[in-house]
Structures are given as C-alpha cells and as structure tokens.
Symmetry: C2
Subunit: 308 residues, 2 copies
C-alpha cells in the first residue's frame, strides 16, 4: 500500500509514528509543511520537517514535542551577549541539523535532497519531502502588521489578534520533485491532524498540489485536529476562525472540500457525522486524542482500516 | 602612548593581556592574523581573532589556549551522524561567535566591522582589527599536496612534512580599514611572540602593511617566539626551516628585517645579542617564557620599558 501523508509538526508526527509501526518501510511518502521555516542566526530552520524526522528517527523530545531529547541550550545562552534574538529555542544538538541543512543549501543542494539525506541519516524508514523547494512563508496579520508564523507562534506565544493569514511566495512556488507523482500514484492520502490553516494550508497553497489531490484516484482521509469545538493543541481554532472556517470538524471538512473523501472525527463529535455526510464527506468516528505510543498505533490502525 | 600589535593566537594573547593590564583602555590597536580563518560547517571561523578577543575579554579556556572556558561539544557530537567533519573542535558556546560572525558577513558587513563588534561585546577595551577584509589563506605544501593551515595544524596535528608555505589570495588583499593609519600614527609597534611564518607572515603578506612598517616613525619591537633554538610552542621551528629561516632569534630577526628596530630575546639566548646587533637589530634580553598572569604583565612591562 502506497500512502501519502500531508503533515505539519507535532500532531502529525504522532500519527506518522503510529503508521510507521504498522506499514512496511518505504510505504509512506510524507509531504511536510515548510511555511513555518525560519531563518535563525543565519541558519535555515525547518521546524515541521525536523519534528517529523526527529519523531520517526526516535530522537524527539517527547515532553516538548519539538527538538531533540536531552538537549542543552548553551549556544543560545551566549547569543544574548551579541544581541542576537533568543526567542527561538535552538538546542545545541538540534543546531547540528540546521548547520548541516544550511551548509548544503548554500552549496546549491535543494531542500528536497537535504531533507531526504537528513531523514536517512536519522534512520527514518520512509520518504520525507518538503512541500516545495521554493520558499513559502506563512504570515499572520496582527494589529501591528505582518508577523512570520514563528514570530506569531513562538515569540508572541499566539497572543496576537489574527486578522488575516497568507502564504507569501506560494504563487511562485512549485511542488517539490516527487510530490505530485506520489499523490498521483498513492493508494491513499492521509491528511494528518495538523492545523488546517498554518500546517496543511501552506501545502495546499503550492500551485498544483490541490489539483493533484482532486485528480488522484486515491482515497483521501483527514484526521480532524478539532475535537469538541477546540483544537487538540495550539492556535488552530483562532486561525480557522480568522479564515472564516467554523471551529469544528465541519470547518475542517470545509477547508478540505472538495477533494476530501473521509474525515476521521473524535467520538466526542459523533453528533456531527450526519452533517458531514450531508456535505459529501464520509465520517469515520474514532478515539483521536492520543496519549501514548499504544494510542498512536491504535489511531493509525483505525486510519488504515477506514482506508482499506 | 598609541601602540600597534601584530598578533597571532595564543602566544600573542598572553602578551596582549599583559599589556592590557598596563596601558589605558583604547591605547592598543591589535592587527590580527586571518590567514588561518577556516570554513567549518558553513561558518566563518577566525581562530586567531577569537583567541585574542576571548583572552582579553576574560573568556578563554586557559588550559587549551583556545575556545571558551567551560564549553561543551554537543553540536559537534551530532555532526558525526550527518557525515560533517568533526576534526575542528567548535564548542557549543564558541559556536555563538561563529554563527554571529557568519550571519553578519552574509548580510554584507565587513570582517572589520564584525570583529570590532565582537570584541566590544566581549568587553575588550582595545581595538581588534583583522589584517584584511579580503580572504587570505595560509597553505602548507606537504608530500600529498596543499593543505589549509587548519588541516595541517588541527587535522594532521602538524605531522606532515612542510615543503612550502604560501598565503593564497594575499596579492589581491588590501589592509583592513584602520590598519595602515594605526601603523602610521603609532608610537610603537609590537610584533607579538607568534609564529613568524603562519601568524605574522600572513599579515606581512597583505600588500601595503610591510611598506607601512618600513615607513612608520614608530619604534618596532618583536618578541622572539623562538627560545634556545626551538619554538616556545607549536610548529614554528619546522615552518621557519621550510621558509629557509634559521630556527633561532636570528631567524626571527631575518624574517622581520629590514623594518625591525628591536628584538626581545630570552635570557637563554643572550649569547645571540652581539650577532643581532651586528645585523642592525637592537637586542633586548628578558625572561620571555610566561607561566602565569604575573609573568605576562612582567613581560609586557619589559616590552614597554624597551620601547620608552
């Protein structure tokens, strides 16, 4: 079974780790969000791609959901002296990834090549692809102007009124090599339980990806990151509202229409099933909130069963 | 008293720290060697400039003579996984300096501006200038071809036969802004006890600096790094021999003729005084091997007395 997964960061990574436990090595092609890639101290940081590869490689810091386990922050501690920004937490071990990526980018390698190498070096058994080799920057319009996603999310801790969200550069971006063929050849496409606006939204904004999702014969199933009218974690609710989407599984379905076949919703939202079905999306009810490795695998199994 | 010092790394830094204890803040303009600057993981590393600023700022690791005190090597430890070279030891705290420097260089700042900022941020009370803003690379010809200085010194631990030394790029380099005016306006110029071939040699190879040293009305005093026919530390002896210089204070004088007024030699080499004098260089005999902070200051005092 050839699976394609559209993925953001932490929420996606848990489902992907569950899938990794169930499918053959190489069965998954993960298309990761790069809309929240950020320049930090002159380095190219790809938070979502790294969260996926760190998680699948077994290196993720489980309690934080980002970065490497047992990391320290000694470089960051020195940056204060030089007046460099210190609000983006790059650990010492984590820095190796960003230095390596940045060096290769400066030497002319593409983000696709580099992401593939890093995933391999971390022992990931599946393909991890960026959505695009061209820069796409998710931006948030607040009362004082535009913020990059990381400024909004990390520096301002999401405490900024969201007036608008856009994906700067998306119109000029092209899908990374491998993205469209993977979608076309997939037996199933899984949209991970990631923020529809700032994790999946940037992927869909790359010209050609939406069309590929509409055209693929594969079944497309999304797992709703909204449970009981609120995001499982993060600012997805506020961001969806800012995009005019209802903060519910119905809003998630609306974001992914018309190419979505199935939406996995939490048992808590079972009451929405009929309305989803009326809207042309097949509801799949499951326990979607995962609290440990067993529940990750159980959720992944439920996804595979629904797609079978 | 306006002093200019030509400086390499560790040996120079000790004398400079002694001088710092005796002269007014701002009295010193230090012209540092950048011939052993190296690209490491895509970062621009300036080992000699950093050793000087770390030492004068009070941050140097005294036992190693390079890098920051209490540093760790966690980023380096991860680099193995990505196949990045790990023979050049960059500490986690140290990395902040190189990241900051590299970011500013990429933004178009000059090495002079950046070196000034870093020295200031580290609390250095004197001017630290690179010899040039253009790249000059000290290279060592061994039996298997050319090596950069760091490849020779760190990776090969100097265990390579030296057939030739050159300073690639020197012909196209220009003295950094401030270098020639400082030499012209100096009351005295001090050539620190650094390797004449690979620490001071690259500085002298930058067109214009030699001429400024010949033209300056300032007295020029060098402290010999060769004591009793051998280098106080490092491969200076072998490198001098490869350049056809006698491995002795006489060879040091020969390297700095004809612009050298005085050469401070160790008491152990007092017997060479007459031959130095015959060669037109005024010998100054002193205890030049320093074992602690008091001796650094004593050496610096002796230098200032000789120049007075």
């Amino acid at each position: 079974m050839r699976l394609v997964a559209l993925a953001g960061g932490t929420g996606a990574a848990k489902l992907l780790r569950g899938l990794d436990a169930l499918v053959e090595p190489g069965a998954l092609t993960i298309i990761g969000n790069t809309g929240d890639d950020a320049p930090v101290w002159g380095l190219h940081v790809s938070p979502d791609l790294d969260t996926v590869s760190y998680t699948l490689g077994g290196f993720i810091d489980e309690s934080r959901g980002w970065g490497l386990r047992d990391d320290t922050f000694r470089t960051l501690g020195e940056m204060v002296r030089f007046g460099e920004p210190t609000w983006f937490n790059l650990g010492d071990r984590d820095l190796a990834t960003h230095l390596h990526r940045t060096r290769l980018l400066r030497e002319g390698r593409t983000l696709t090549e580099i992401t593939t190498r890093i995933a391999r070096d971390l022992g990931v058994r599946h393909a991890v692809l960026p959505m695009s080799d061209q820069p796409v920057s998710t931006r948030i319009l607040g009362p004082d102007g535009w913020l990059t996603f990381q400024e909004y999310f990390v520096r301002e801790k999401t405490q900024v009124e969201v007036r608008q969200v856009d994906y700067a550069g998306a119109a000029e971006a092209r899908p990374a090599p491998g993205v469209l063929p993977a979608i076309a050849a997939a037996d199933a496409v899984i949209v991970c339980p990631s923020n529809p606006v700032t994790s999946i939204g940037p992927i869909l904004a790359v010209p050609g990806i939406l069309q590929a999702l509409e055209a693929t014969p594969a079944r497309v199933l999304a797992v709703s990151p909204i449970v009981g009218g609120a995001a499982v974690s993060g600012p997805a609710g506020r961001l969806m509202a800012a995009r005019g989407l209802e903060v519910s599984a119905l809003g998630v379905a609306a974001a992914y229409a018309p190419w979505l076949d199935m939406l996995m919703i939490d048992t808590m939202d079972a009451g929405l099933a009929a309305r989803l079905e009326a809207g042309g999306v097949c509801p799949v009810v499951a326990e979607t909130i995962v609290r440990g490795r067993d529940e990750e695998v159980a959720l992944a199994r439920r996804v595979l069963e629904a797609l079978a």
